[in-house]
């Protein structure tokens, strides 16, 4: 009896572990780079990446009249962070979720609807077109990334793993 309980607990723990692992795997590392609001700053950052042979998977810019934040998805985030920092940029690594959107009108609406229904606040999102699959991928930054992944997976959204994104 005791042994059985232990065994069941073990299975549950294992399950939990693998579930968490699966979720961690769904977190895409994103670089955020501080840009001051001045001519040529974005170009300078992109030059550094080009010289370092970094391929950009996805990119977005958030800007205000005071400054901007350049957000990037690259195959090797840690290495790219170092490269940018060596060139005096301020870089932070954060996490986003990648979801393949149904390639039809209203596709994004379905995904946002899932987050909305689960009371998950979205801070920002951006999207890029996938050439091979002829579809689009949206990158989402919810307040709570774990809750976001769970809600999307539970509701049938196609959440893409980090490996797949980096390898595209």
């Amino acid at each position: 009896m005791v042994n059985l309980t232990l065994f069941i607990n073990k299975i549950i723990n294992l399950g939990y572990f693998s579930l968490n692992n699966r979720r961690d795997n769904m977190k895409i590392k994103q670089l955020s780079i501080f840009l001051e609001n001045r001519k040529g700053r974005m170009r300078k950052a992109l030059d550094v990446l080009e010289k370092g042979g970094v391929n950009i998977r996805a990119l977005s810019i958030a800007d205000t009249s005071y400054f901007g934040i350049l957000r990037l998805i690259v195959p090797d985030p840690e290495k790219t962070k170092k490269l940018l920092e060596d060139n005096n940029f301020i870089v932070k690594i954060g996490e986003v979720i990648a979801v393949r959107m149904p390639d039809k009108p209203g596709g994004l609406g379905i995904i946002l609807g899932i987050l909305d229904d689960n009371d998950i606040n979205l801070e920002y999102l951006y999207a890029f077109v996938e050439e091979k699959e002829n579809g689009a991928i949206v990158l989402l930054h919810p307040e709570d990334i774990n809750a976001g992944i769970k809600a999307l997976q539970d509701n049938g959204a196609e959440v893409i793993s980090a490996e797949e994104i980096y390898g595209m």
């Binding site: 994103q30 955020s32 501080f34 001051e36 400054f67 005096n88």
Partner: protein, 433 residues
């Protein structure tokens, strides 16, 4: 009209005689009643008897703002405190303020000087004067007030702020003279236009400018907007307040009330007195101030003295309008700001690099103070709202320190110029010269 012809149109010889008598008397009073002066004179081996000519004033030690600060609060008084009937202080933005005390006689002199000045603007007892200078420890409000009342003008002591109300009252009371800082004047004009009031239709006959530096272009702009001539007022709390020098209808320099203040221009490096016409730091000595004689005070204001016949008939020497400072003090919208205060505020914020740059400009005739600060990894956040919050936070810290709103710009690391020794951190683009 000249308020006091005898004093303002005195012959040169007569004036020098009067100045010498008064100088000898005040040096003696300072030496005998203020320990600070006695100590300073003794250090230089000078006694009041050594002052035999006006030129001998150059033998006397200079007095600085720091000296006055050390005497805080009442150490510079030459009379028992009960004879002092009014106190004012400088803004005190860099540590302790400096205190100015006035006896009844001193208030009389202040009123006289400002009455002369307002008369230069064409003021008579028929006028209504709106005084937007602040009433309080700042000398601006009261100085103008005393002069106006001495002449017998009707004074509207509205003080600073309540801009819409200012405009309403200016129109309803039919003010004929208004006193403001140039930047506040332009702000008033803008608000008036928004309220649908044509400032050109106000019945203004004169405007008095005080408390900040300005350019000739700014004067032209204000004169155009208010359809009235604008006159410069010079003064500083340490010496008295507004009324030390004012502009006549010539609009070409300010007449110094030489029978009450003895002006010199010195080279701020060598401290040598410069001849008339040369640009340097203005040094003032009070010739008649009873409660608190001030000997050779370094104003840090840059100007030149010019003695020439003036078409207004006054023989009082003229000084150019102030074109700069010998220290790094900035006057922003009339408020004294030192870069060290901004630095102090920045150092209170965790994660901030102590590299900054201050840029002062006057895009719409209003002073704008921009502080560029290098961002750091500690400060940076991926979220716009957090970054904006950090910017606001820095702005609040600086506001607390200097009392003015500034614009903070976060710049990338290592982009602000580094220099060995004293870094050039201030860029004043207002172009006063």
């Amino acid at each position: 009209m000249i308020w006091n012809k005898e004093a303002e149109c005195m012959s040169h010889e007569e004036k020098e005689r009067l100045q010498l008598t008064r100088l000898q008397k005040i040096i003696k009073r300072a030496y005998e009643n203020v320990p600070f002066y006695r100590k300073r004179f003794e250090e230089k081996g000078i006694t009041p008897e050594d002052i035999k000519t006006l030129k001998d004033i150059e033998k006397l030690p200079l007095t600085t703002k720091d000296d006055l600060r050390e005497a805080y609060p009442f150490g510079m008084f030459a009379v028992p405190r009960k004879e002092i009937i009014e106190l004012h202080t400088s803004s005190g933005t860099t540590g302790k303020p400096t205190v100015s005390g006035y006896t009844k006689k001193d208030i009389g002199i202040w009123s006289e000087c400002m009455a002369r000045g307002l008369t230069m603007f064409g003021a008579t007892e028929d006028d209504i004067l709106q005084n937007t200078h602040g009433y309080g420890l700042f000398t601006g409000g009261f100085g103008v007030h005393y002069g106006a009342q001495k002449i017998g003008l009707t004074v509207i002591p509205i003080s600073t702020g309540q801009t819409k109300r200012q405009i309403e009252i200016m129109k309803d009371f039919n003010a004929s003279i208004v006193i403001f800082t140039p930047s506040y004047g332009l702000y008033l004009a803008e608000v008036a236009e928004e309220e649908g009031l044509n400032t050109k239709e106000l019945n203004l006959k004169a405007i008095g400018f005080g408390a900040e530096m300005w350019t000739e272009e700014m004067r032209q702009e204000i004169q155009k907007r208010f359809n009235a001539p604008a006159y410069n007022i010079y003064g500083l709390t340490e010496i008295m307040g507004p009324g030390i020098a004012l502009e006549c209808k010539e609009h070409n320099g300010l007449h110094i009330m030489e029978d009450h203040f003895y002006p010199e221009i010195i080279d701020s490096e060598t401290l040598q007195t410069l001849p008339e016409g040369e640009k340097g730091e203005l040094v003032l000595t009070t010739l008649t101030r009873h409660g608190m004689p001030i000997i050779r005070f370094r104003t840090k204001d840059v100007t030149a003295l010019r003695r020439a016949e003036c078409s207004c008939g006054r023989t009082l020497i003229k000084m150019d309008r102030i074109t700069g400072r010998t220290d790094d003090m900035l006057k922003i919208r009339g408020v004294a700001v030192f870069p060290s205060q901004i630095e102090k505020a920045l150092l209170k914020i965790d994660g901030l690099e102590p590299h900054y740059q201050i840029i002062v400009s006057r895009p719409q005739h209003m002073d704008v103070l921009e502080v560029q600060v290098e961002a750091s990894p500690e400060l940076f956040s991926d979220e716009i709202k957090e970054l904006v919050g950090i910017k606001r936070n820095i702005e609040d810290y600086i506001h607390n320190e200097i009392g003015l709103r500034v614009d903070v710009t976060l710049v990338e690391p290592k982009t602000l110029p580094r220099s060995e020794g004293k870094a050039v951190r201030v860029f004043d683009k207002r172009g006063f010269n």
